[in-house]
Symmetry: C2
């Protein structure tokens, strides 16, 4: 049947000036038509419209934006509704940060409006600078500088003999999700946590500051959530269930994902007097930022007072849910979303991504008028409350858990986007699909396809092995997903095959989560022609349509199998490296090397002897990886062989699709990951101590990293079992396809 | 005979409380006695005495210091004289640096006295801040920031489409010898060069600044020579001959080693307004320093005016030459030196090293009184004019070229020294000797030998292969020498086996070549107990005495052979890497990768296609390396076998020693290196574009680096021939030893 369609397109294309079959690719005419429709001017106008005023959770303009999105969807011919949830969303009541010794300084804790920037002065509607889900607190203590505040930074502190017990730590933003910083600080005994934006990361060190340039000005502050997202995202009071009016709620005091200590983000203008007052040893080179001071560890003599109190209110979320019902398989859903809430005006985050969503929706509405009937149901979502911690998406997924398990084919996410190459992450079963679409979308700058440009950038930036892969492998690899946007509940809680997409890499910025992330900034310093917004709508729109219209769902498993094997080998290597490192360190301890090299004027604490990690049985994983490789190859072969005959075997297609829809679910385990049952995917999770960055085969990997070797070994068995479930399903699908004559 | 001595020592040691034979090592009692004599208090006093006032070339106190050193030597029982040379030494007449557009700023160009520091206020005697051997000039041009000003930095500028033609470049100190910066800038068409001390390198980024800490204060300036030292060091007017009264001199205008453009060093306080006024593209991350600004390329709009005029005077150098005549082999000289001139007060550079020299000399004087009679002549030197460009040592070596070729057994150099591990570089034929001595000297902090501590630091800092070598190889490797101190003429012009030694690594400082390198700084922030000064005297004194007293000179050639093989393999690898890189880049150019990834808002210039380097015949070197390995092994075996019988075969010893003395000379070629005939050593030279840092097998290596592949190939033949000469000499020595019955 597909071949037949291609023939028709060829004729129609010739007649009506539509793209030729070759240009449209093998997926037919409709998605090629879609790619002609997104309009940069409309993207510009949507971004301007949504970012015109601050629109955080619970704000008047937030509700207005949601209503406007609903109206837009409806105007395009979609069904659209608002679905609400009621969630805990704290906002600041009192914020005090002051240096009390040896000199005094009171932090400004605000971002000055900029004359040239028309929305920066909307102070009445702006949320103050704060970290959401910090506890209340009133603490005083010596300051200790802890670099990025990651576990490995505390290992350095230990070597230098610096304790944070009773201290207020000051950490710089970057290198880990911000919520990790107070989490680790509290584990180590700190009583408070300050997070600041060092100019090294996104201030003058990186480029000219706003408003003359795109980087963070001295008083710019990064707001953001510090909830313990790697334990579970979403409403802290309703883990695992939708935060409906009737949901059973935890007491705020019992919510496990709030921070254990008060935490506050500050600007580098506010940080400099604090950091300059810290004495003690000079920190190592890679701990030093770009302020014109000597960075030192402390503790003290600088002493700070941090006082924070919040309104612990329940606020209403407004998720926009829009639909086009499927014509053939209405119970198979393609879900696609982007959040609409912002910390302040949020032109980049999230309006730039939400504008693409709207252009896709408008284009599909146009195609409906032209006669397009998607086979599957398309569900478009505008999530509320992403910024505080994926609230809208998480509550929706929790609320519709059973339906999603039965019906969801895939989830495609976007968030803020910019100019440059395609950044694609997600389930490796969708790798071939995203590659196919990227070959059909034009890069707005380079006069080549998005795929070709991405390939060129992989060749240019990669090492020898990466270059070879980029040149010779059929598809460009996509990244595994950790967290940081609304895909998390779909992929890691519910097992929906997921993609997350954006363009980027060509513009740097320092306005993230500040009042300066607004239309003035975006239209000067990011995708100012809005052509990458259009490319994003073309890319995601095409993916959605191919998923919605395909007879046989375009899933492939060879990339999944390849990753399973690669992750296993990485883990073996990780263990081996740990074994070698610890054995070497023990040897150096035994040989007195640490004592011998110690500088008595700058002494270091000799590390303690540690047991060398034991050998671990990787055989179950290695065998499972082999089996899934065989199953994936068989499926691929059967699919290719059956190809032309599938049109006359739609019952087989239906059977196989039903299996494919359940394929990602095989990788879940209802028991979840060790210590965090909400996360049920055994291949991908945000790291418990990274927050956003992915840990693949997280149970095994974090077992090794956290020195729980027995746990790592039992996790190997669980991951192997998940891969075997997947292999069995793929084999069943292959069996069905092999039956096609 | 050696065994017999040991027996005697054992008895005497027991009687007189001297160190036991075991403690004294196999080299007998005298050097063990020497190690008991250097005194930290005297080192302190010598440093204080020499650094009490500024004592640069031609200064009144410079002469006083030389006279004082002569008197000290004489008081210890040495013969000592001053030997003078008359050299070109420019000093500033006029220095103007000003920003003239878009705003104006006039640079201070001075270093403020610090109240706590008693010598920092001796302004009348201080040399102004300048770079010696800069041309006169009066230029105005746009500023371009060129990072460290190395050739590879200009490759980056080219990619960014930035030209320095007609510009004044501003380069930061570091990563290359300072004289390279104006040299490359002039080659690229710049009209002036400013060099500044970025706080990233030795200012607040590294630690607390002076006087509270050891690092460079905002207005501290690094003086220094910018002569084209890789062409030839020493007096620019008398290349190759001693600058005596009667020497034929070049006209100043014809001196090839003066800079081609005016160059001036400045502080970071003076640099900041200049750098902040530069616009254009932001530089790459590794180009950015620690000033609180955005570093940009320019050119302009910042425009600077640089005006420099110098007094082109001939100044008199005062080398101190002291001697103890040898009792048995008076015509075999052990030469040892350190410079005594400083840029200003120079407590670290050079007084800390010169103080060790004096303690060695005093200790040897004491041993003479106790009856010690060195077999060979010991020559101790206090060089003048090292700072401007190794003037005193170079002129002395050139003047005594024939004598040194006939008589010099070895040259041992020191310069500034500090606290930490032993830093040893030099001829690999002396590697075993320096290791043996390091085993016999106590580290003042760690309670273990200097050798053990160095081994521990190699184990601690090294990668797997280095750790293995440090643990398992008999000796710790010593570095090859480039330039940067007075060893250069001995090793690279004259072919004297050379060592250069210092302690360091534990204290950082930012006072190099400033008025703050003085006793106040040194006694607070460096070897303040002066115990490493003592350790240095113990180490070098022991080396000198073992060389002076040995029957058979303690030369070994296995390390030389090992290095010959290692350098050859490095060069093969270097060529292979270049071939791969250029082939890959050509492929990317052909495939349009550069065009594909280009950001139209931040375009880069696509590099030009280049010919892939041809294969080169390394066989002569590989074969020569094999031959020298065999010869060295044979020599070692013959020496070990002959050992006890040598005492009764002193004629053989004499024959072998005569060969050994000529061994390093075999590695010279009278034609010198390509384009720089003054440098005659074919294994070690300072890089033509690094200045201090060594290039081993420089003719071959720089041929490959500079894409002169035919030259590299013919240099291989020359280096192989030098190694073969060395092999023949070693074989002759082995033959002689094998004849011992």
């Amino acid at each position: 049947m597909r071949r037949a369609i291609v023939m028709v397109v060829l004729v129609l294309g010739g007649l009506a000036g539509l793209p030729s079959a070759q240009e449209a690719g093998h997926d037919g005419k409709w998605d090629a038509q879609l790619r002609t429709l997104p309009d940069a001017g409309r993207i510009r106008e949507s971004i301007r419209r949504m970012s015109a005023r601050p629109h955080h959770v619970g704000s008047p303009y937030g509700k207005e934006v949601a209503d406007w999105i609903v109206a837009e969807f409806r105007s395009y011919g979609w069904q659209a509704e608002i679905e609400t949830f009621d969630v805990l969303f704290p906002t600041p009541k009192e914020r005090v940060l002051e240096l009390v010794e040896p000199t005094t300084y009171r932090a400004h804790l605000d971002e000055p409006p900029v004359a040239a920037d028309p929305t920066s002065g909307q102070t009445a509607e702006q949320l103050p600078t704060y970290n959401a889900y910090s506890r209340d607190g009133d603490v005083t203590g010596p300051l200790v500088y802890v670099n990025y505040g990651r576990p490995q930074d505390y290992e350095v502190l230990e070597r230098y003999g610096v304790s944070v017990k009773g201290a207020i730590v000051i950490a710089r933003y970057g290198m880990s999700w911000r919520g990790i910083k107070p989490k680790v600080a509290a584990e180590k005994g700190a009583v408070g946590c300050i997070i600041y934006s060092d100019p090294r990361e996104d201030g003058y060190f990186q480029g000219e500051v706003f408003p003359k340039g795109p980087m963070r000005p001295p008083r710019g502050v990064q707001r953001g959530s510090v909830m313990d997202l790697p334990t579970y995202p979403g409403d802290p009071l309703t883990p695992g269930v939708g935060a409906t009016a009737v949901a059973k709620r935890l007491e705020v005091a019992d919510a496990p994902t709030l921070t254990k200590i008060p935490v506050l983000p500050i600007s580098y203008a506010d940080a400099q007097p604090l950091l300059a007052a810290i004495e003690g040893r000079t920190v190592p080179t890679d701990w030093r930022g770009a302020l014109p001071i000597t960075y030192r560890f402390g503790p003290g003599p600088a002493k700070a007072h941090l006082k924070l109190a919040f309104n612990w209110d329940i606020k209403r979320l407004h998720n926009v849910i829009a639909k086009i019902p499927g014509s053939t398989y209405p119970d198979e859903w393609i879900v696609r979303g982007n959040h609409h809430d912002a910390w302040v005006n949020g032109a980049e985050d999230p309006a730039s991504g939400m504008a693409a969503v709207l252009e896709e929706a408008r284009a599909m509405g146009e195609l409906l008028k032209r006669g397009w009937k998607p086979k599957r149901t398309i569900v478009y979502a505008g999530w509320d409350g992403e910024e505080p911690a994926l609230l809208g998406s998480t509550e929706w997924v929790e609320q519709h858990d059973a339906d999603l398990r039965a019906h969801a084919v895939a989830y495609i996410n976007t968030d803020g986007t910019g100019r440059g190459t395609l950044d694609a992450g997600g389930s490796h079963s969708l790798e071939a699909l995203v590659n196919a679409v990227a070959r059909d979308v034009d890069d707005p700058e380079a006069g080549i396809s998005v795929w070709k440009r991405l390939q060129a950038s992989r060749i240019s930036e990669g090492h020898e092995e990466d270059r070879k892969t980029a040149r010779e492998r059929k598809d460009l690899r996509i990244d595994a997903l950790g967290s940081g946007s609304d895909f998390t509940p779909f992929l890691q809680h519910n097992g929906v095959p997921t993609l997350s997409l954006a363009f980027g890499g060509e513009d740097e910025g320092g306005i993230y989560h500040s009042i300066y992330d607004d239309f003035f900034w975006y239209s000067q310093f990011s995708d100012r022609d809005f052509v990458y917004g259009r490319a994003l709508a073309q890319t995601v729109g095409s993916i959605v349509m191919r998923l919605a219209d395909a007879d046989l769902l375009p899933f492939e498993f060879t990339a999944v199998a390849e990753r399973a094997d690669a992750y296993t080998k990485e883990l073996q290597k990780l263990l081996e490296t740990k074994q070698k490192e610890i054995a070497e360190r023990n040897r150096q301890i035994d040989d007195g090397v640490f004592a011998a090299i110690d500088d008595p004027r700058q002494p270091l604490v000799t590390p303690k002897r540690e047991d060398v990690p034991p050998a671990i049985n990787f055989a179950p994983l290695l065998n499972a990886a082999t089996r899934i490789e065989q199953a994936a190859a068989r499926y691929q072969k059967a699919r290719d062989a059956a190809g032309p005959r599938l049109a006359s075997n739609l019952e087989v297609v239906r059977t196989v699709n039903a299996l494919l829809i359940q394929s990602e679910r095989q990788l879940l385990d209802p028991a979840g990951l060790p210590g965090r049952p909400w996360y049920r995917h055994l291949l991908y999770a945000p790291g418990y101590y990274t927050g956003y960055a992915v840990k693949t085969m997280p149970g095994v990997r974090e077992g090794i990293e956290q020195k729980k070797y027995a746990e790592a070994e039992s996790e190997i068995v669980r991951v192997a079992a998940a891969l075997d479930r997947e292999s069995a399903l793929i084999t069943k699908a292959a069996d069905a396809l092999e039956g096609v004559r």
